[in-house]
Structure formats: structure tokens, C-alpha cells
């Protein structure tokens, strides 16, 4: 993994080098985008919509996304449902356990900014972007399965734009 990151630097020197890097970029980002394995993580009502999206009518498997139980093997957390103050450190712990190219989708109003529990609630985190870096926000309470699929497509476009050079 480390050696791949240093590849573009060496390839610059060879005359046809950047053609190789662009094809490598294309291959890696395409494969990374079309096989996002999401972590089975759902807290509140959005978790039911996440399950409904995984079911037969709005099939997640079509986009190549299967659910994994352990954070080590998954590269996408769909934060579905309200993240309370007691749950926030757990979400951070899970995010840290994931292997490096990892993404976060904030599904539903509660994860974007606290949703219906923004005012008058003493126990809800106002949005999760100060806990984990979020890639895509999906409004809705709970968002329809189609808007979740559309959010995943937006994430796939974002992953396809990623180049080897800016791998973290």
C-alpha cells in the first residue's frame, strides 16, 4: 500500500509515466468506488430505512455494497440515526478502527445537524461532522431509500475523483 503511494513520483521521470499513472488512477478509483462495503451501523429510524434499502426493492447489492459486521473490513460508515452524546465516542472508536480509505455518509437530519432534536434536547449531538469527517450529507427524516441510493452515487462520484497522489 505504501509503495503504491510513492509510485506516481517514480513514474513522472519515465517518459510515458503519466499515462500509467492515469490508468492506475482510473483502475484504483473505479474499483474502490464500485465496491464500497458499508458497516452495519444504525441507531434510530434511519436504520430501518437502511435495512429497507438493503432489501429486495431498493437493492444495495446492485451498487456492489454488501454489509460487513466488523469495522476492519468495511470502508464506509452510513451513520443512520440519531447520534447521542453517549454514542458519539463509540462512533469515533468505530471510525478509528476502519482501514484507511474510509468514507462516512451522514444519513438523515439527526446526523446532519441534530434534526428534530436540535432544539430543547440535552442529549443529542448536533450533527456528526465534528466527530468524524463526513463525505456526503443526505437530508430527510428518514430519507427515502432512493435518496440514500442517490447519496451513495454522489459518494461514488466523489471517490472516482480521488487520485493516488491525494491518498491520505
Amino acid at each position: 500500500m505504501g509503495v503504491i503511494k510513492k509510485l506516481p513520483v517514480y513514474l513522472e521521470k519515465i517518459p510515458g509515466g503519466n499515462i500509467v499513472t492515469t490508468t492506475l488512477d482510473y483502475v484504483f478509483s473505479q474499483s474502490r468506488a464500485s465496491s464500497l462495503w458499508y458497516l452495519l451501523f444504525g441507531t434510530a429510524c434511519c436504520a430501518i430505512e437502511l435495512m429497507a434499502t438493503g432489501a429486495s426493492r431498493y437493492d444495495f447489492d446492485r451498487l456492489g455494497m454488501i454489509f460487513r459486521a466488523s469495522p476492519r473490513q468495511s470502508d464506509l460508515i452510513i451513520a443512520a440515526g440519531t447520534i447521542t452524546k453517549k454514542m458519539a465516542p463509540r462512533l469515533k472508536l468505530l471510525y478509528d478502527q476502519m482501514a484507511e480509505p474510509r468514507y462516512v455518509i451522514a444519513m438523515g437530519g439527526c446526523t446532519v445537524s441534530g434534526g428534530p432534536f436540535y432544539y430543547d434536547s440535552y442529549a443529542v449531538e448536533k450533527g456528526i461532522d465534528h466527530i468524524v469527517p463526513v463525505d456526503v450529507y443526505i437530508p430527510g427524516c428518514p430519507p427515502r431509500p432512493e435518496s440514500l441510493l442517490e447519496g451513495c452515487l454522489t459518494l461514488q462520484k466523489r471517490v472516482k475523483r480521488m487520485k493516488i497522489r491525494d491518498w491520505s
Binding site: 429497507a52 442529549a123 427524516c141
Partner: protein, 370 residues
């Protein structure tokens, strides 16, 4: 430390964490284990405590309905119903006939949808992945009907104090009839895959036996109570709304293990389909909501109202002082007491049984944490 075979074994604690595939929502169990056998279970909750009751103290009655939607999202209709019924008793509002029928139709459809979620997660927790998807396939048809009438799939904001918010469109009844005709065949499909399956029976028979006295002592309600042989169903014993006009039986079983809870819920799905069918035939024409002002102020007083939803008795206690916002709203979910009974049931079983018992009790966390 069991020194039985001269081995020096030590109990070890296992943390079935808040993020765990089989804890519905976010519930954490701290298990003391000896090898595979559980010696003690302490549930740790609070990971989904969203302070709903504090929010309700700063909202008008009309605005609380969307908050109750999120109180128990699998059966949001019965939360709306509980709160609206309590407000109607408080303010003495009458509900027009057609609204009562619409409410019963929506409540029973929501019960079927919630039982389908339970059916899916139970089979998923025991390892059979396919029935989960079959269950959700039927549930999508019900959600289409809900979306047709009130616009949302899960958080309906449909039943209001004094009636219902919108009338059903013309296309609703034919679609509902078509669903009901196909539904009993689908439930037979589920039964064929799981009910007599020897592996399923081996996993559920005599696992997590809940004796009737413990169930009543721990205030367990709903299908879990009826599976222990106690025939107590609010729709029959304290007939709120117009449940006394429909004939349906209350399925009960005797020895209260996971398998009986499964059978009771499957039969309840069929009963609810029967109620919806009768309600569709008898629905009259007429107004769907009685006159309720925008910031309506009920008179001072307090009321406690109970509704039977798919996880047991759902109670709403409202105390109002004549303001447009209630002084206190206490929500009581069915799973709150069922989670208290879990440690009593799980001792002596294995981890796999803890998962099976948790799935069969149909415990979801918003009830418990509010």
C-alpha cells in the same frame, strides 16, 4: 471459578457492544461468561436517549405528533394514536366515524409492517437471511399504501387529536384489497420456510422460557405476555377506538419460550389482516376530523391512556395546566419492561440463545431510551 474437572477456569466478561449486528438499535450487554454459558447479563442502555419528554414540554399539541412519530418508529401510527387518544380524553373531543375506521385500518397495517420487521430481524439473527428479504418485500407494499395517504413511509404524522389529517385517496382501497388477498399466501410461504424447520425449532424450543408470574411481575405486555399463556390484549379488554366492532381472536400459547412468541406473532399478523379487511368493508362516508383550533389549549388535568401496539402496551401520561403546551408528557414503551426481564431469561443459556431471546422479544431501543 469452576473447579469441577480440576481445571482452573475463570469467568470472563464479554461486551456485546452498542454496535453489534444483533442488538436492534444500540443496546449493550455486559455478559459474565463461563466458556459459552452466560452467568450474568447487565444491559447498558441510554445510547439512544434523545430527551423526547423534555422536547414535548416546549411544543404545542399539534407539534408533538411528529415527535411521537420518532418515539417508536416501527409502529409510529400507534404512537400518534396513543397521544391523540390521550389528548381527546383530556379535552373531550369526539372523533367522527370515518376517522375511527381510518385509524383502525392504519394501526393494523402498521402492526403488520412492524411484525414483518420483527420477522425479518428474527430470521436474520438466527442465520436465515432470505426470510428477512421476503418480509421486507411485503412491508414495501404496506409502506406504499402509507405513502399514498399521508406522504411518509415511516414517520407518518397522520393521526391527530380529533381525527386524522388526510382522507385516503380513491386508489387506496383497491390496492389494499389486492395486498390483503396476496398476504395470506405470503405468510404461508414464511411458515413453510421457518415454522417447522427442525433447525429453527431446535434453536427456539425451550429457550428463554418466560413464566406467566414473572411476566406479570415484570410488567411484560403484548405478544411476549400472550405467549406465556396470559390472554391480555388491550384491544379486547379495554376496547379503545372501535375495536369492539370487529371480530378477531387473540392468539395465545402456553409455555412462553421463543418458539411460542414466534407463533403468536405470526398468527397476530393474520388477525390484523382480518381486521383491516373488515374495516375496509364497513368504512362509512363523512368528515375525517372534528374542529380543532391551531394552537388548541386543552383544559387543566391529567390523563393516562394505553394503546396496544406490536410490542405491548404503549402508555401516554399527559398533564396539562390549560396552556397550549403540556406540562409533562411521559411515554411508556412496551420494550422498556421486556428488556428488564432479559437478564432473568438469559442466565444459563449460551450467546446464541441471548441473540435468539433478544430477537424473539422484539425489543427495539427507542422504546427503552426515549
Amino acid at each position: 471459578m469452576s473447579e469441577a474437572q480440576g481445571l482452573h477456569t475463570k469467568e470472563f466478561t464479554l461486551n456485546v457492544g452498542p454496535h453489534h449486528p444483533s442488538t436492534h438499535g444500540v443496546c449493550r450487554f455486559v455478559l459474565q461468561m463461563e466458556g459459552e454459558v452466560i452467568t450474568s447479563v447487565t444491559p447498558v442502555i441510554g445510547y439512544l436517549h434523545r430527551a423526547l419528554e423534555k422536547i414535548c414540554e416546549n411544543r404545542t399539541y399539534e407539534q408533538i405528533i411528529p415527535i411521537t412519530d420518532r418515539f417508536e418508529y416501527c409502529t409510529a401510527m400507534s404512537c400518534n394514536m396513543g397521544f391523540s387518544l390521550a389528548t381527546e380524553k383530556l379535552a373531550g373531543l369526539e372523533v367522527p366515524e370515518r376517522a375511527e375506521y381510518l385509524r383502525v385500518i392504519m394501526l393494523e397495517l402498521n402492526r403488520i409492517a412492524s411484525h414483518l420487521i420483527w420477522f425479518g430481524t428474527t430470521s436474520l439473527d438466527l442465520g436465515a437471511i432470505t426470510p428477512f428479504l421476503y418480509g421486507f418485500r411485503e412491508r414495501e407494499d404496506i409502506l406504499d399504501m402509507f405513502e399514498m395517504t399521508c406522504g411518509q413511509r415511516l414517520t407518518f404524522n397522520y393521526i391527530r387529536p380529533g381525527g386524522v389529517s388526510k382522507d385516503i385517496p380513491k386508489a387506496f382501497i383497491p390496492v389494499c384489497k389486492k395486498f390483503l388477498d396476496a398476504f395470506s399466501a405470503k405468510v404461508d410461504d414464511y411458515e413453510r420456510v421457518l415454522t417447522e424447520n427442525p433447525i429453527f425449532i431446535a434453536r427456539n424450543k425451550d429457550v428463554g422460557i418466560l413464566k406467566p408470574e414473572t411476566a406479570i411481575a415484570y410488567s411484560v405486555s403484548g405478544p411476549s405476555l400472550r405467549a406465556s399463556g396470559v390472554k391480555y390484549d388491550l384491544r379486547r379488554d379495554d376496547p379503545y377506538s372501535i375495536y369492539d366492532r370487529f371480530d378477531f381472536e387473540i392468539p395465545t400459547r402456553e409455555n412462553g419460550d421463543c418458539y411460542d412468541r414466534y407463533i403468536v406473532r405470526i398468527r397476530e399478523m393474520r388477525e390484523s389482516a382480518k381486521i383491516v379487511r373488515q374495516a375496509i368493508e364497513q368504512i362509512p362516508e363523512g368528515p375525517i376530523r372534528s374542529k380543532v383550533k391551531m394552537n388548541f389549549k386543552p383544559p387543566a388535568g391529567e390523563v393516562y391512556c394505553r394503546v396496544e401496539n406490536s410490542r405491548g402496551e404503549m402508555g401516554f401520561y399527559i398533564q396539562s395546566v390549560g396552556e397550549k403546551m403540556p406540562l409533562r408528557v411521559k411515554m411508556r414503551g412496551g420494550s422498556y419492561n421486556q428488556l428488564q426481564v432479559m437478564p432473568v431469561l438469559c442466565v444459563g443459556h449460551k450467546i446464541a440463545d441471548l441473540v435468539a431471546i433478544m430477537a424473539s422479544m422484539d425489543i427495539i431501543m427507542p422504546d427503552v431510551d426515549r
